[in-house]
C-alpha cells in the first residue's frame, strides 16, 4: 500500500481530474499513461530489480554496466526527475493551505514547505512507510466520498464509474456525457468526448508518459523493501488495484465537475455567483476580467489574458472583483480558472456539506505530503549514497552520510518550494521534461540490462547520452529558446515536446544496440549477474 500511496501523488489526487476536466478525451493520455506505465514497471522492471537486491536505480545501472560514468548519468536523471516531481507536490500542498487557511498561494506553499521538511528530514524511510499506509486510507476515502455523493446527486447511481455514463436525475432520458458535450459546444468549447490533438501526438505522449512513469525512481525503490521476488510481483498487483480505484474515479469526477461548472457559472452576474468562485478568487486561482463591462461572467474557449493572473490589491473592480494587470486577449472569454482547483472546489460547487470539503482537503494534503516525502528520500539518498559514497568519497562515515542526506533533503525542499511559488506554468513544462528524460535515458538502459545480456557499457552510455541530448534539445528549443514555434506545423512528425521522449527512447535503443555490436562484450561476471537476476530465488 505504501507503493500505492507514493504513486498517488498530489498530481493524481488534485491535478489529474482537473486536467481531464479541461481536456476531455485528450486527458485520457494521463490515465492510460500512468496506469499503463505501471504495467511496464510491474512486468519488466520490479521483479528483476528486486532480485538484484541493491538499494537504488543508479546502483543497478552502475553495477550492470560496470561503470561510474553510467552510475553518475543515472544519478543526475534520478535527481532531476525527483525535483520536478517535488515541485509539483509543493504546489499541491500550497493550494490546499491557501484555500483552507485563507492565505495567498505563496504563503500556502511556504507553510507546506515547513511541514514537508519536518516530516521527511526528521523522520526516515520507516516512518514514511508506516504513515503512508494511513495516508493511503485517508486519501482514497477522501476521494471516493464526495465522488459518490455527487454521482448520486447528478445521476442517482452510487458508483461514479457507472454514474458518468448514466442518465441525469433532473432530465431523464439525457445522458450526462451528452449533456456535457452539448453544454461545451453551446459555449464555444469543443465536445468533451472528442479528441483535438492529432493521433500521432496522442500516441507519442502516451508512450512517453508510460515509459517515463515506469522509470520513476521513487516508486521503483519501494520494490527493494519487500522480502522476495514473488512478493514484489504480488505487491505490484495490490498497488495497481488501489491505483485503479482512484484512476477510474478521476474521469468521473472530471465529468461531474465540468458539468457543474458549465451549468452554474457562465452567463451569471458576478455579484450573484456562488460563494466558491469568490473564495477561490481570493486565493488568486480564479480571476475574472469584465471585458465587455456588463457585470456578467462570459466563459468560452481561449485564455482570458496572457499568463497567470497578476493581481493589484490597491483597488477593486466596480463589482468588487480583484483586478489584474495582465495583457487581455482578443477573445471574449473573461474567466481564468486554475485547473488544479477542480477536485478541491468540486464539492463546494455541488454544495456538499462542509465536512466533505474538509475531507477532500485532508486527502489532498495526505497525497502531496506522502509523495513529497518519498521523493525527498530519493533525492537525499541519491546525493549521499550514490554520488558521495559510491562515487566521490567511498570511505565516508555513516554519520556523515546521514548528515549529507538531511542537508540534501533540506536544500531540495527549498528549491521545490521556489518552483511551487514561482511561474507555475514552468512546473508543468518541466514535468514534461522529466518524463521525457526518464523515458529516453533510464528505461532503455534498465530494460536492456535485464533482457539483453550482450549489452555493454559503451552501448548503454552512448544510448543514454544520445537519448537525453536529443530529448533535451528538442524540449529546450520549443519550450524555452523558441516558444513561438511551439505548434504542430513546426514539430517533427507532428510530435509535441511532451511526447518527444518516446522518439528519444527509440533513438537510445538504436544507438545502444549499434554501438554494442562494434565494441567488446561485457565481462563474464556481469553476464553471470544478468543470469542470476533472471531467476527466482535459489533455496
Amino acid at each position: 500500500m505504501a507503493i500505492g500511496a507514493d504513486w498517488m501523488s498530489a498530481a493524481s489526487f488534485i491535478s489529474m481530474a482537473g486536467l481531464i476536466s479541461f481536456l476531455g478525451r485528450d486527458g485520457s493520455v494521463y490515465l492510460m499513461g500512468w496506469t499503463g506505465g505501471y504495467v511496464l514497471l510491474a512486468l519488466l522492471l520490479a521483479p528483476y530489480l528486486r532480485k538484484f537486491g541493491k538499494f537504488t536505480v543508479p546502483d543497478f545501472v552502475g553495477d550492470r554496466y560496470y561503470s561510474q560514468t553510467a552510475r553518475i548519468v543515472a544519478v543526475v536523471c534520478a535527481i532531476f526527475v525527483s525535483f520536478t516531481y517535488v515541485a509539483g507536490q509543493m504546489r499541491g500542498v500550497g493550494i490546499v493551505f491557501s484555500r483552507f487557511l485563507n492565505v495567498g498561494i505563496t504563503e500556502g506553499v511556504l507553510i507546506g514547505m515547513g511541514i514537508v521538511f519536518f516530516y521527511a528530514v526528521m523522520g526516515g524511510m520507516k516512518g514514511i512507510t508506516y504513515t503512508q499506509v494511513a495516508q493511503y486510507c485517508v486519501l482514497i476515502f477522501a476521494y471516493l466520498v464526495p465522488a459518490i455523493f455527487i454521482s448520486i446527486m447528478i445521476t442517482g447511481n452510487p458508483l461514479p464509474q457507472l454514474g458518468f455514463g448514466s442518465e441525469l436525475n433532473d432530465e431523464p432520458g439525457t445522458y450526462l456525457l451528452d449533456k456535457l458535450d452539448g453544454l461545451s459546444q453551446a459555449l464555444g468549447f469543443s465536445a468533451y468526448t472528442e479528441g483535438h490533438k492529432s493521433m500521432t501526438d496522442i500516441l507519442f505522449i502516451t508512450a512517453a508518459l508510460m515509459v517515463g512513469t515506469a522509470g520513476l525512481p521513487h516508486v521503483i525503490v519501494r520494490f527493494f523493501t519487500v522480502p522476495k521476488v514473488a512478493d514484489a510481483r504480488k505487491s505490484a498487483f495490490y498497488a495497481l488495484v488501489f491505483i485503479a480505484i482512484l484512476y477510474t474515479t478521476a474521469p468521473a469526477v472530471a465529468a461531474f465537475a465540468r458539468t457543474n461548472l458549465l451549468s452554474t457559472v457562465p452567463g451569471k452576474a458576478y455579484v450573484k455567483v456562488d460563494a466558491w468562485v469568490r473564495n477561490w478568487e481570493s486565493t488568486g486561482l480564479i480571476a475574472w476580467v469584465d471585458k465587455n463591462a456588463d457585470g456578467i461572467i462570459q466563459y468560452t474557449q481561449g485564455a482570458p489574458f496572457t499568463g497567470k493572473p497578476n493581481f493589484v490589491d490597491s483597488e477593486k473592480g466596480p463589482h468588487g472583483q480583484r483586478m489584474v494587470t495582465n495583457q487581455l486577449s482578443e477573445n471574449s472569454n473573461e474567466l481564468y480558472i486554475d485547473r488544479d482547483i477542480m477536485v478541491l472546489a468540486n464539492p463546494e460547487i455541488a454544495k456538499l456539506p462542509n465536512w466533505v470539503i474538509g475531507l477532500v482537503a485532508a486527502g489532498g494534503l495526505a497525497a502531496a505530503l506522502s509523495t513529497a516525502a518519498g521523493l525527498l528520500l530519493v533525492i537525499s539518498t541519491s546525493i549521499s549514497h550514490d554520488l558521495l559514497k559510491k562515487s566521490i568519497q567511498p570511505n565516508i562515515s555513516e554519520r556523515k552520510e546521514l548528515l549529507t542526506a538531511r542537508v540534501a533533503a533540506g536544500f531540495a525542499v527549498l528549491v521545490a518550494g521556489y518552483f511551487g511559488i514561482n511561474p507555475p506554468g514552468f512546473v508543468a513544462q518541466v514535468v514534461a521534461f522529466a518524463f521525457g528524460l526518464a523515458a529516453s535515458s533510464f528505461f532503455p538502459a534498465i530494460i536492456m540490462g535485464i533482457f539483453y545480456k550482450q549489452m555493454n557499457k559503451e552501448g548503454a552510455i552512448s544510448g543514454m547520452v544520445a537519448g537525453i541530448v536529443f530529448t533535451m534539445g528538442y524540449i529546450l528549443y520549443f519550450k524555452f529558446i523558441n516558444p513561438a514555434d511551439n505548434n504542430a506545423s513546426h514539430w517533427w512528425f507532428g510530435i509535441s515536446p511532451e511526447g518527444i521522449g518516446t522518439l528519444g527512447m527509440l533513438l537510445n535503443f538504436a544507438v545502444a544496440l549499434t554501438v554494442a555490436r562494434f565494441t567488446s562484450p561485457p565481462p563474464e561476471n556481469v553476464k553471470a549477474m544478468v543470469d542470476d537476476i533472471r531467476l527466482p530465488e535459489q533455496n
Binding site: S28, M32, T35, A42, L43, T206, R233, L240, R534, P536
Partner: protein, 94 residues
C-alpha cells in the same frame, strides 16, 4: 545452443517468462494504444449506455484490463516458479 540447453531448467524458466511477457504486453498494447487511441473513432460509433465505447476504453476499460494483466502475471509466474523448483531438483538429483 544444443538440445541440452533447452532442457536445462534455467533456460526453460526464462523462455517461459518471455512467453508470458509477450502475451501480456500484446494485450496491453492492443487495449491501450489500440482501443484507446488508434481505433477510438471507430469504437466511438458503438454506444453502451451513456458511454461511447472508444471513450470508455480510454478512460475506464484500459485500466480494468491492466489490473487483470498483472493478476494473470502473478498467477502464471508463481506457477512457473514451482515448475522451475521441481525440475531443478530433478536435474540435480538425476
Amino acid at each position: 545452443m544444443g538440445p541440452m540447453a533447452t532442457h536445462d531448467p534455467e533456460h526453460s524458466y526464462w523462455r517461459g517468462n518471455l512467453k508470458y511477457l509477450s502475451i501480456l504486453l500484446i494485450i496491453w498494447f492492443l487495449v491501450s494504444y489500440g482501443c484507446g487511441i488508434l481505433w477510438v473513432d471507430q469504437l466511438d460509433k458503438i454506444r453502451i449506455g451513456g458511454f461511447k465505447l472508444g471513450f470508455w476504453f480510454a478512460q475506464q476499460g484500459s485500466i480494468y484490463v491492466f489490473v487483470g494483466l498483472i493478476f494473470l502475471y502473478v498467477l502464471w509466474m508463481n506457477r512457473l516458479d514451482k515448475t522451475y523448483e521441481a525440475s531443478k531438483n530433478d536435474h540435480t538429483s538425476g
